[in-house]
Amino acid sequence: MNWIDLHLPILPVLLPAITAVLLLLMGDHGGDAHGGHGHHKLLWARRLALASTALGLLIAAALVQRAATGELIAYRVGDWPAPFGILVLVDRLGAMMLMLGACVALPVLWYASGGWDAHGRYFHALFQFQLMGLYGAFVTGDLFNLFVFFEVLLIASYVLMVHGQGRERFRVGLHYVVLNLAASALFLIGVALIYAKTGTLNLADLALRVPQVAAPDAAVLQVAAMLLLVVFGFKAALMPLAMWLPATYSASSPPVAALFAIMTKVGVYAIVRVHGVMFGDSGGATALTVEPVLLPLALLTSVVGVMGALSARTLARLVAWLTVTSVGTVLAGIGLYGAAAWGAAFYYLLNSTLVIAALFLLAELVAAQRGDADGQLVPASPVAQPTLLGLMLLLAAASTAGLPPLPGFIGKLMLLEASTGHAWAAAFWTVVLVVGFITLVGLARAGSILFWHVRTDLPDGASAGSSPKLVLATCSLLAASVLMSVASAPIQRYTHAAAVQLTDRAAYAEAALGEQGGAAAQTARPYRIDKRKEVK
């Protein structure tokens, strides 16, 4: 096994971290984007960031290839024996999320290089830190490091959110930061409660120990599970904790909003890891703790999201609400529990993230060609490239709403199939189908106002059309989504295998903890029982 193979699992975290530090050392263009010394700095920062992100995509592809064989790629930092050291563990789900992150990041970064990165300082360095946090959250095998990587990606996102500045961004940004800090406090409380009852924070170790905790102590763990659902539900925009998202995402600069499309999915990922596996169908006293609330809340999220989409007054806000809807659909799939439903939910998650990211970029392309009307959904002067942008919006809309043969349709079909026989099947079918229909209505309404209901009395938008770079970057996201439809059979096999792999706690524990795994696992705690007599 050569050097690269050995250290491959940690590379997705190290690469953006090193790149970000290099970008910081290179310095900022200092607002001097066009001509002058700063221009060269910006050009080099773009090249470095794009090269690094592309390399990250290759690493993610290599990890997916290895994980697809069913291998659980464990990496112990510093070779400390588990469960004492820092553990990085890439399974099928983790590799898939890495790949998704890289597939969204590269086109978005390319789009941002078209000019948005010059609207503020240190955009590229922050972008890389954000990627570091995202990738780290996907590969970590430890609950506390999940918190740390959450913080890394959040701190980067706080600054990226106000990138480009302006009144509205600072107002909404303050809300976003304060809410996230409060959520982080809850995260820590949840983690501490879990540690107090199990003596470990290693995810593999927890998956074995949490089911062993008996009745009186299990209540503490259930509280922790609910607290963590609040935290992850907040990040994922699960109702009733989703109201921050539309304002935040629609106020951010478009490339940042497109990148944030993946951030809600980090919340979904954490819910799968913690509530799906750790508090999952384990047979213990804490089994399926959140099951009674997750599915109803997720369905509610879908419904509220689509109602928000209907009432949106700008295209960006419409897309932001659709993000909420898609998260609701994915989480409803997760809430069904069971490998078939999860496999379908993962497939839908991949597609919806790509399409939502593309829609955020597309919203800006359209808005830029409409003169003073901007992204507002009111009749205005015609856009310069109605055919191109209209077709792109049509494609994205069809995929979001779930029309065949696009992947949104395949994902929803798989979800509906998986829900058959579930107690909530009727509600699930109703919500998914009606939401799909209303999504279509909302996007059709927006599209017809934007492209058909034009006013000829206004002066033209004075736009010669978007730069090919921006259009290509947006198209590549849409193309990735269409490719998912073409390659749906292998991807579906992969997502299903990822879901099945999650249910195999023993294999995960063996990969994470080595031969000491399972019941014989050592505890990081130097004591077994509470020595109450020590404290008076």
């Binding site: 009144r167 303050l174 930061v177 304060v178 800090l181 409060a182």
Partner: protein, 117 residues
């Protein structure tokens, strides 16, 4: 009558948390930042106490003597560092928001007449 250390620490954490939440729900960004800090302190002590409360027990493995759990202490250090950084950032952001919006109200517009606080 003696009061146990657990009772003191637990009620202390509860009180600080309550103050933190109260401040967090105020309308001005300064009090919100204070509330976040208070909440952060309470959470840090909470994590620390989740390793159980020990007296005269160093967090170092030795033969024979009682040993405190070192892991929550390490976790608290991480949480403190992150909390410190984010507090610094949110103060700067609040100042900037005050500058941009002309008010330190978190909703970005000055309070209406007769409003709270």
């Amino acid at each position: 009558m003696t009061i146990s250390m657990e009772f003191l620490v637990a009620s202390g954490i509860g009180w600080v948390t309550a103050c933190g939440i109260y401040l967090l729900l105020r309308g001005r960004s300064f009090t919100v930042v204070l509330g976040l800090s208070m909440l952060g302190y309470a959470v840090n002590v909470f994590i620390f106490s989740m390793g159980r409360l020990w007296r005269a027990a160093p967090p170092i493995l030795t033969d024979g003597s009682a040993v405190a759990d070192p892991l929550p202490q390490a976790l608290v250090l991480t949480a403190i560092v992150i909390g410190f950084a984010t507090t610094g950032f949110v103060i700067e952001l609040a100042l900037r928001s005050r500058h941009e919006n002309g008010t330190d109200h978190v909703d970005g517009h000055a309070e209406r007449e007769g409003g709270a606080q």
